[in-house]
């Protein structure tokens, strides 16, 4: 399984380098005041969402899954490798975002609570997206799964918009929570998202167990 995670890193190394340059570029622009910190954090989440999906595309091009499923670890190791890679990227992105939070709060460009909240919410969204997209990619392959990516991205936006439209006036009556309360809520949701990722892993395992190559 370690070999399969390493495979993803090696296959995507050029993309990883490009994303690292992007992150640096966004960081510089944020530091000179061209962007808000949230843009940097959002960029990190785009990476978290895109890299595992890109890995599926590369695997399909090489027909890797057929070979990997015949390796000693079998189908389960193949699935596990992809989830571990996703977790690794999540951790790296989170560490980078936390570094940004500390840096920006030290520089006085944003409050620590606001930064942490942005990091937590974006990580939460990233994990929810990949939890949906990984099983869909295992089931349908990257080409046929692509429309679902737009659905997974679009439905939450639509729901937020409808919630705002329908219950906008009522929502404004709810007392505004403190940053600490929001962070606590985000942490709970993050824990739920991690459970969701775990559930997603089992769904992917089940999909792959029934797959015929």
């Amino acid at each position: 399984m370690r070999g399969l995670v390493l495979k993803d890193i090696l296959v995507l190394r050029k993309g990883l380098r490009t994303y690292a340059i992007f992150l640096l570029f966004y960081l510089i622009l944020s530091l000179i005041g061209a962007f808000h910190l949230s843009m940097c954090v959002a960029m990190g989440q785009v990476i978290l969402m895109m890299l595992p999906i890109s890995a599926f595309s590369y695997d399909e091009m090489a027909k890797w899954n057929l070979y990997a499923a015949a390796l000693p670890g079998g189908r389960r190791a193949l699935v596990k490798g992809r989830y571990h890679f996703t977790l690794l990227i999540s951790i790296l992105v989170s560490v980078y975002n936390l570094f940004l939070s500390v840096l920006f709060s030290i520089l006085g460009k944003a409050s620590m609570e606001e930064c942490l909240l942005t990091v937590l919410v974006s990580l939460l969204l990233g994990l929810v997206m990949v939890s949906f997209m990984i099983p869909i990619n295992f089931k349908l392959g990257p080409e046929r799964a692509r429309p679902y990516l737009y659905l997974v991205l679009g439905i939450p936006c639509l729901l937020v918009f409808l919630l705002y439209k329908i219950g906008g006036s009522r929502l404004s009556q709810i007392p505004e929570p403190t940053s600490a309360q929001l962070i606590a809520i985000a942490c709970v949701f993050l824990a739920v998202a991690l459970c969701g990722l775990y559930l997603s892993y089992f769904i992917s395992c089940r999909i792959m167990e029934h797959k015929e190559f």
Binding site: L4, V11, M61, A62, W64, A70, F213
Partner: protein, 283 residues
């Protein structure tokens, strides 16, 4: 000497194709050539052994046990495609496969790369078809497997590279614990190296025998329509008829010759046997 593979009554049903009751073994120290037309079921058989498809019936044993992870540690795999991504280099393949195989030997892999003249740091996208097959073979051999499973591994290669690879196969099975199951359309390759031939025709195994026995016993009858009419149909496996001549596939050449001394029966190649089953008709 144990059997590396034992397949008993393997069945697999698809919408428009059925693999029926495939039974054969791959004994240690031998090369078994799997032949058959396109879509006959060779790849489905290999995929069933590797657990890539779920058989509907039958049993597969690897090294006298279940085809589990431990058994797969002993298998080297070369399929008709190179499954390593274009953006990888041979040294990356080493890094990827080292944690996967318990017996992976990086020094052995490097030695194979050198033997096959494969550059360690060149991207696979720059490799020729022959180089990709050699890389797959190097990867398949570097964890000292006991069994090689090869699906059309030599197709599309020039004769020099094929010969080089066939020599590797022969060296591999010089150990009695080692065996190779190879499917190929290049029958001449199998005639060179295979010890046994398993012939799958339209999803059914119609022949599994020692190659030497097949070449020694089977024969081709060349005759006129009138002569063919004199032959008892049971004495011929298949016949091919044209406007002027007829040909028949004979199972036991010498027995047939004794029974029909006036008819000409010649030795036959594996490829001709395949053509008889593919294009001929029952006698």
């Amino acid at each position: 000497m144990t059997n590396c593979i034992e397949i008993q009554g393997l069945c697999k049903q698809y919408d428009q194709f059925q693999l029926e009751d495939i039974t054969f073994t791959v004994p240690g120290g031998s090369i078994v050539g799997l032949i058959g037309e396109n879509g006959a079921g060779k790849t489905t058989t290999l995929k069933s052994i590797l657990g890539l498809v779920h058989p509907d019936g039958g049993a597969i044993a690897l090294f006298d046990g279940a085809p589990d992870a431990a058994a797969r540690q002993e298998i080297g795999l070369v399929l008709d495609d190179c499954f390593f991504h274009d953006t990888l280099r041979p040294k990356d393949v080493d890094a990827i496969l080292a944690p996967i195989y318990q017996n992976w030997d990086s020094a052995l892999f490097a030695a194979y790369l050198q033997k096959f003249s494969l550059p360690e740091r060149k991207y696979i996208k720059e490799f020729s078809r022959g180089m990709k097959v050699k890389l797959s073979l190097a990867a398949a051999l570097s964890h000292s497997p006991k069994l090689l499973i090869l699906d059309e591994a030599t197709s599309g290669l020039d004769p020099v590279v094929r010969d080089e690879i066939l020599d590797e196969f022969l060296a591999f099975v010089s150990d009695d614990d080692h065996a190779i199951l190879i499917s190929s359309h290049i029958i001449s390759d199998l005639e060179k190296v295979a010890d046994y031939i398993a012939y799958i025709h339209q999803g059914t195994l119609i022949l599994f025998e020692r190659k030497d026995a097949i070449l020694e016993y089977y024969g081709r009858l060349a005759c006129t329509r009138q002569q063919l009419a004199e032959v008892v149909p049971e004495d011929l496996l298949r016949v091919k008829k044209s406007n002027f001549t007829c040909e028949g596939l004979v199972e036991n050449r010498s027995a047939f010759q004794r029974k029909y001394p006036s008819l000409l029966v010649e030795p036959i190649s594996l490829e001709e046997i395949m053509v008889f089953f593919g294009k001929g008709e029952p006698a």
